[in-house]
Amino acid sequence: MLAPDILLAAVLNGLMTGAVYALVAVGLTLVYGVLHIINFAHGAILSAAMFAAYFASLAGVDPYIALIGLAPLFFAAGYAAQRLIISPASHGDDQNVLLVTLGLSIVIENVLLTAFHSDTRSIDVPYGFASVDLGFAFLPLPRVVAFAVACVVSAALWIGLHHTDTGKAIRAVAKERYGATLVGIDVAHVYAVTFGIGAACLAIAACLLLPSYYVNPRVGEAYVLVAFTVVVFGGMGSVPGALIGGLMIGVIESLTGLFFGESLGQLGIFVLFIVMLLLRPTGLFGARA
């Protein structure tokens, strides 16, 4: 029988892992909500961002500081990728986008493999082993930071979407692509901005993950399928849905892992994913599909 303090600690762990899932999923859901496409290169971009953070750290820049530079850098890269590659290559066909982003993910992942080989690398930061003592549990400091930053970023994104001009334009395009064109919104620009924001979220997630995780060219894969689940769970296109969905998936995974073993914990996520897709593809919080 499990003691209540372990249960509580597991829930806390789940919340902290879930916050990172949410951050990874926010970018995905935003892109889906606006462009109505699934970005299959999401996982590969995360791997690339983690390598960027890793090399920044080797050069003596702490990942939390590197975040400030990497987020805009990945925003620019994402913007360019959508504007110069994905949009022209797919001719406005959604299924083409699926294949183009799949192609991009194959390219990114394998270029990383070519450049850095398949070894697993990790960094040692001074605060890597610091933890917050709650009396019944230790919460590792890097994970607490990840949780806090992920929540702040999601909230900032939500506020930005609702209270800035760019945000309003993004929401307008998401709701009514042609109407937005008519009122003079540059849809191609908005698409690229959205894609850039998605990539920037991944850069932030990468910097938050690195102090307590490892990096190799396929590391993003482990997160991307979960992010798909979170997106479907929280409702495709919904930012608050991604945050709540991410946290819930984190807790569900943590608890199923605790009760049924870690392997089946991951199985639980995929089964949930399939059931959600089959029964309620609009998600728990999503209104539109």
Binding site: A10, N13, D119, S122, E262, G265
Partner: protein, 407 residues
């Protein structure tokens, strides 16, 4: 020569003819001052997911070929030099299979390598079509040598031997320390190594006086080991037995350190990290006193130390599969020397009757029984200070075990 569907016998005839031809070619070269080089197939996963391990293995083979050639080549064949024919298995069995075909048609006398079990299974089988001798470097699955393939030789110990040795040494270790460990938690990855090992330990540990409190499986890759650490913390075992790949073990060790979980010992088996210098270098604190039962070189042999220095001078980590491939190529060279021929059947015969002892592994003389080197055994290692030391068996040890771990 006829071609067609039923070319089985023709190809056999052709093969016999061509290898006979090779032998005939070798004979006159005997008389020349400089004999024709002998092609040796080196098959490793040089690209793909296992590229790191493949490159490590390749490094060992290259070093061995250089040593042999510098020492005058194969003397019984007129000082013929070894020439490496490199094959990239691309980390898949199909890749291994395709490269065996290529190496065979390149005229190699034998193939060394494979690394991963699935690659070894496919590659040895492909080589057996041509009666091409194949020396498996790592491939721990025992099925590799249990299919009755006459061409297949595995120099390193298999899964069964490693786990049995690990258990025996664990009992020895515990007894010598006054039996401080009674309770155990098993942590394993849910793949081939981990699951098989856990099953075996669950059956064997209770017979040897250990109480298994819990068995925790985790997938590879795992995103988070916090729950595993929590469960370990709750059970508070004397001993932790993990069997995972590199990334997950590093995560676990770090999480345990964060959660201040300190069992009396961490005793891993065939672990990806515990006997890896990268782990030690990057996380010296988390790595301290972790024990492992794994492949390793013989630290008392000069050649082993020289090879380690050479590898480290290039800024690379010295791993067991570098040492294993180095030894496997030496083993092949010895067989060539005794066969005094590049005829495949004769090399196979020479390998089967090998008593080669000039390797750098802690094995003693080589003796193959059904393709498995009966002298092969793993050793127990422990991270002590800035190095990984051999603690068992006593004959090869260069340090005493630290157990239980000082609090």
């Amino acid at each position: 020569m006829t071609h067609g569907l039923d070319s089985k016998w023709t190809r056999r005839r052709f093969l016999a003819a061509s290898s006979g031809g090779a032998a005939m070619l070798a004979a006159p070269s005997y008389l020349r001052a400089q004999a024709a080089p002998i092609k040796v197939g080196i098959l490793q996963p040089l690209t793909g997911a296992l590229a790191f391990d493949g490159q490590q293995g390749l490094m060992g083979s290259e070093a061995a070929i250089k040593v042999i050639n510098d020492a005058g080549g194969i003397k019984s064949l007129g000082g013929a030099k070894l020439e490496m024919a490199q094959g990239d298995a691309r980390s898949t069995p199909d890749g291994g299979n395709a490269e065996v075909e290529r190496l065979n048609s390149d005229g190699v006398v034998a193939i060394v390598g494979g690394f991963a079990s699935p690659i070894c299974l496919a590659a040895t089988q492909a080589a057996s079509r041509y009666d091409l001798p194949y020396i498996v470097d790592v491939g721990v699955t025992d099925a590799i040598v249990q299919r009755g393939l006459k061409n297949t030789f595995r120099f390193a110990p298999g899964f069964g031997v490693v786990s049995r040795t690990a258990l025996d040494n664990l009992v020895k270790l515990n007894d010598a320390a006054g039996k401080p460990a009674k309770t155990v938690v098993l942590v394993h990855e849910d793949g081939l190594f981990g699951s098989g090992l856990a099953k075996l330990l669950q059956a064997e540990l209770p017979n040897r006086g250990f109480d298994i409190l819990d068995t925790i499986a985790h997938p590879t890759p795992a995103r988070d080991m916090s729950n595993v650490a929590l469960q370990i913390k709750a059970k508070n075992p004397d001993l932790l037995i993990p069997s995972s790949y590199y990334g997950e073990f590093v995560l676990l060790a770090r999480t345990m350190q964060q959660q201040r979980i300190k069992p009396k010992g961490i005793y891993s088996i065939l672990n990806g990290a515990a006997s890896n210098f990268r782990f030690l270098k990057e996380f010296p604190e988390a790595a301290q006193y972790v024990m492992d039962c794994n492949h390793w070189w013989d630290p008392r042999k000069e050649a082993a130390q020289a090879l380690r220095k050479e590898v480290e001078a290039q800024g690379k980590f010295f791993t067991y599969n570098t040492a294993l491939n180095y030894s496997c190529v030496l083993l092949l060279a010895d067989a060539l020397e005794r066969a005094a021929s590049t005829d495949r059947a004769k090399i196979t015969e020479a390998l089967a009757s090998s008593t080669f002892a000039g390797h750098i592994m802690p094995y003693g003389p080589t003796r193959f029984g059904d393709g498995q080197n009966q002298g092969a055994a793993p050793v127990n290692l422990q991270v002590q200070g800035n190095d990984i030391k051999v603690i068992f068996p006593d004959a090869f040890a260069d340090a005493k075990p630290v157990f239980p771990v000082p609090a």
